[in-house]
């Protein structure tokens, strides 16, 4: 039995400890906001926060995630929520499939950088592919989030 703490909630699961966290989240626990895109760590669709760091959940065995705080797109975080609002305001998503991973990566960025430059954004988001090509809006929405935070 492995215990995962996802979005503050504990889940006891009986799986092979080498199972990637992605599949435990999606197929065993049933939170489907975290997406499969490549399974080899190169697309970012599966990103979650593991103790506040963005990781590709397709590359992390569940055993490694045990006893850590896991935040998925369904989770709550101030920066995530603000980013989601900007995402909606600027109508960022096209097909939407990559966006949970994009939002998790952007959340991790804002968690440690209050005012990222375009270069900071590129560095933080380079691991996230958007096949629809929404990068320009992603950038704008991150800047917009910072702007709104500074206003408040």
């Amino acid at each position: 039995m492995i215990t995962l703490r996802i979005n503050g909630e504990k889940h006891k699961i009986d799986v092979d400890p080498t199972m990637p966290l992605l599949w435990a989240i999606r197929d065993i626990i049933g939170l489907t906001g975290t997406k499969y895109g490549c399974g080899e760590g190169v697309c970012g669709s599966c990103k979650v926060l593991l103790d506040n760091s963005p990781v590709q959940s397709c590359m992390i065995p569940v055993s490694v995630a045990e006893d850590k705080n896991i935040t998925t797109i369904e989770g709550e975080s101030r920066n995530l929520q603000l980013l989601q609002e900007s995402w909606a305001e600027l109508n960022v998503p096209q097909c939407g499939f990559c966006q949970p991973g994009q939002l998790i990566a952007a959340t991790a960025l804002l968690d440690k950088n209050d005012n990222p430059t375009d270069e900071d954004i590129n560095a933080a988001m380079i691991g996230n592919i958007c096949r629809c090509g929404t990068y320009q809006r992603i950038k704008n929405a991150i800047h917009r989030t910072v702007e709104l935070k500074n206003q408040n």
Partner: protein, 730 residues
């Protein structure tokens, strides 16, 4: 009030009662006699698209087309809502299942708005007219004294009543005759032509949008299939011992190939309690394959072959004037050979589907661009009645043409039937890259003559590429009419021109991919025209405008003829916005391309830098004329996305085959443009009240050639082959 153009006499609208007590309007959508549509689509005239207004004022509009980032769940319903004078905030969307009663649901070919703009307006107008009649009846006043505004009917006296409160009367009324309908004056549009956010944007952002991959049913099993590395190869024997030892694996099943264009490829399916176990179990299978005829396929060798085929005379498909005489009398001859590789769609969400077969009935949940074709495949496979098969359309995590080919749907059905439980088939990314329907590989040869004044006097275009038709009629080895059109209808003023097609048999499944034949032809035509400008020693923009020539409507086989004035206009707008001719930083240059496709006109000017032999695209100035615009934001986002799609294919797009097997397998060796490579895209949309035309695809073909033309301006080197990664440029 204005009238709508092109309303077919065959269309009709009628009212049907609804148990839930709402008012439903159903309207035939086959109002275009578009030659692109197969005749069978016009035969079935059952009522189809629905408006449902409930007595609480909530308005449910049906989306008959698939949402894959094209914005169609927002744009089409917004047309109804606008014409109906409904309040958009009261609208919710119901996704239609695959059924002929909705008309053509194939979300492909940049057609949704083109086909459905007018029917949607009619549905809205019809609903408004009935609500006005209902209010007039309730108030005992003439209809002329009533009008609609934002979910209310108003009377000249100042009283008003909400739409919902009129439902019980409206639903008893006869549907008004179509010729009595009135339509809003476009200047009064509230949603059409404006910016609307996606109606699903919150669900996308909070992760609750249900894509095919996210569908879950009680007791659902997950399955992965081992398919032969070579297209249409088959299983000789297999050993499942190791697979069955893997925790979570339930069963191993052989799936036969279904020899239909959208049939399953066949292979060995591993059924498990979770996706990972299914993938692992699949990897543990020992399979001996019979690779079959296509194991001869070597894409490098093949490129040599088709290149030879364009260096000799081909089948003549167009011959105007006398090209040879023009060539003989030339001041200068320019000739170039272009080679473009196969591409894969690689939508972010891999192909997948959930099916649940129970006896002779079946329900499917799939991210499909083509729910009706999906349904047909299932009906054929199960040999059951159409009514017993339901195909639900989920959100699509990208489609780009891949998901209009529902081979994966039948796979899920075959597995569910075999295990007698709901099953989700999941393609790994490797499956997606290695077993797709590939964008064609192509060789092209262009030759043109210039006279002393720098005018093009003769034009020869030869190309060889495996045709999409080969997927439907095995053995076809020449391009089909629709694949020739963009070469023979080249929008240049040419007195002497010839188009020839070379032989090119197919060894993989060839399928349409976002903008289809316009990728190779848009590339060669735009790069070659640029080479001619250089040869003529003229500015590429001036030269191109001259080459397009005088304003005229070109005769083509298409129902919509193209208009060279509109083509030149988008090019001029892009050039104006880019400030063509201005000085750019050192190592930077502009390149241009302009192309007509899916009845739309698009020009892009790209700013490229080449530093340390590495290309970066900084800015893209795109102008599009797509006729009437429904959602400006969608047009804009499609142009932004098209620029990135074009950069991906220009930088990295290359699928190769050795011994018949595709050599790439994931985003690591079939790469995509990433955020640091994304340019700023500046979009201008031409104001127009012409009929709406395509948006999803026509932004793509201009990007790669414009990049090539810009690279030439910086480096003096001309590249005729893609991708640029092959040239060490990325």
């Amino acid at each position: 009030m204005s009238t709508i153009k092109n309303i077919s006499r065959r269309s009709f609208v009628r009212s049907i009662g609804l148990a839930s007590g709402g008012l439903i309007l159903a309207c035939n959508t086959s109002v275009f006699s578009d030659k692109e549509k197969a005749p069978e689509n016009l035969i079935d005239f059952n009522p189809n698209l629905f408006v449902q207004l409930n007595s609480d004022g909530s308005l449910i509009l049906v989306a008959s087309r698939s949402e894959m980032g094209n914005g169609v769940r927002t744009s089409l319903p917004s047309v109804i809502a606008d014409e109906m004078d409904a309040d958009w905030t009261r609208v919710s969307i119901k996704q239609a299942v695959g059924d002929k009663k909705y008309g053509d649901q194939n979300t492909d070919g940049s057609r949704s708005i083109r086909y459905l703009y007018e029917p949607m307006r009619k549905m809205g107008a019809m609903a408004r007219a009935m609500l006005i009649s209902a209010a007039a009846q309730k108030w005992q006043v003439p209809e002329e004294e009533c009008s609609a505004e934002n979910h209310f009917i108003l009377h000249t006296s100042g009283k008003k009543i909400g739409f919902g409160d009129l439902v019980h009367i409206a639903k008893t009324l006869e549907i008004p005759a179509e010729d009595t309908l009135t339509f809003k004056n476009p200047k009064d549009f509230k949603y059409i032509g404006k910016h609307l956010r996606s109606i699903d944007v919150e669900e996308y952002a909070n992760g609750s949008a249900v894509f095919g991959l996210d569908k879950r049913l009680p007791n659902m099993k997950f399955a992965a299939i081992a398919r032969c590395p070579v297209t249409f190869g088959s299983v000789k024997s297999f050993d499942k011992t190791a697979t069955l030892k893997i925790a979570g694996v339930i069963d191993v099943i052989e799936i036969p190939r279904i020899e239909r264009p959208f049939g399953a490829l066949g292979g060995i399916a591993v059924v498990a309690t979770n996706t990972w176990a299914a993938f692992k179990g699949r990897d543990a299978l020992k399979i001996e394959w019979d690779f079959g005829d296509n194991q001869v396929y070597d894409s490098d060798e093949y490129m040599k072959q088709i290149t030879e085929n364009v260096h000799k005379q081909g089948k003549v498909s167009k011959d105007v004037g006398n090209v040879n005489r023009a060539f003989n009398g030339a001041d200068k001859i320019v000739e170039s050979t272009f080679q473009l590789p196969h591409l894969a769609h690689a939508p972010m969400e891999v192909p997948n589907a959930v099916a649940w077969v129970q006896g002779d009935t079946c329900e499917v949940w799939a991210p499909t661009q083509e729910p009706q074709a999906s349904r047909t495949e299932v009906v054929e496979y199960l040999q059951t009645d159409r009514e017993k098969v339901t195909v639900n359309v989920t959100f699509l995590g990208g489609g780009f043409g891949r998901k209009s080919k529902p081979d994966y749907v039948v796979e899920a059905v075959a597995i569910s039937k075999a295990i007698n439980a709901p099953a989700q088939v999941v393609w790994s990314r490797e499956d997606d890259i290695r077993h797709g329907y590939y964008h064609t590989v192509s060789a092209q040869y262009l030759k043109a003559s210039l006279n002393k004044n720098g005018n093009v006097t003769g034009w020869l275009h030869r190309f060889a590429l495996p045709s999409i038709v080969s997927t439907f009629s095995p053995g076809v080895d020449y391009a089909a009419g629709f694949e020739i059109g963009s070469a023979s209808n080249v929008p240049f003023e040419l007195e002497n021109m010839k188009v020839e097609v070379g032989q090119a048999p197919a060894h993989v499944r060839i399928g349409w991919l976002r903008s289809v034949i316009n990728i190779p032809h848009g590339f060669s035509l735009n790069v070659f025209a640029d080479e001619l400008a250089i040869a003529a020693n003229e500015d590429p923009l001036e030269f191109r405008l001259k080459l397009i020539g005088k304003d005229r409507i070109e005769e083509t086989q298409d129902p919509i003829k193209y208009n060279t004035a509109r083509l030149k206009n988008v090019l001029k707008i892009a050039a104006k916005n880019a400030e063509w001719g201005k000085e750019l930083p050192k190592g930077h240059a502009y390149g241009l391309a302009v192309h007509y496709s899916f009845y739309s006109y698009v020009a892009s000017i790209v700013e490229v830098s080449v530093v340390n032999n590495k290309v970066q695209v900084h800015n893209v100035f795109t102008a599009i004329d797509c006729g009437t615009v429904v959602n400006r934001d969608t047009v804009k986002s499609q142009m932004e996305g098209s620029a990135v799609f074009g950069i991906s294919l220009a930088f990295y797009g290359k699928i190769t085959a050795k011994n018949g097997a595709i050599q790439q397998g994931n985003y690591s060796d079939y790469q995509m443009a990433r955020i640091h490579q994304a340019p700023k895209v500046h979009v201008e949309i031409v104001d127009s009240d012409e009929n709406p035309t395509g948006v999803g695809e026509p932004g793509v073909p201009v990007i790669a050639p414009a990049i090539i033309n810009a690279i030439y301006q910086v480096t003096g080197k001309r590249y005729h082959n893609l991708p640029l990664s092959d040239h060490g440029l990325v």
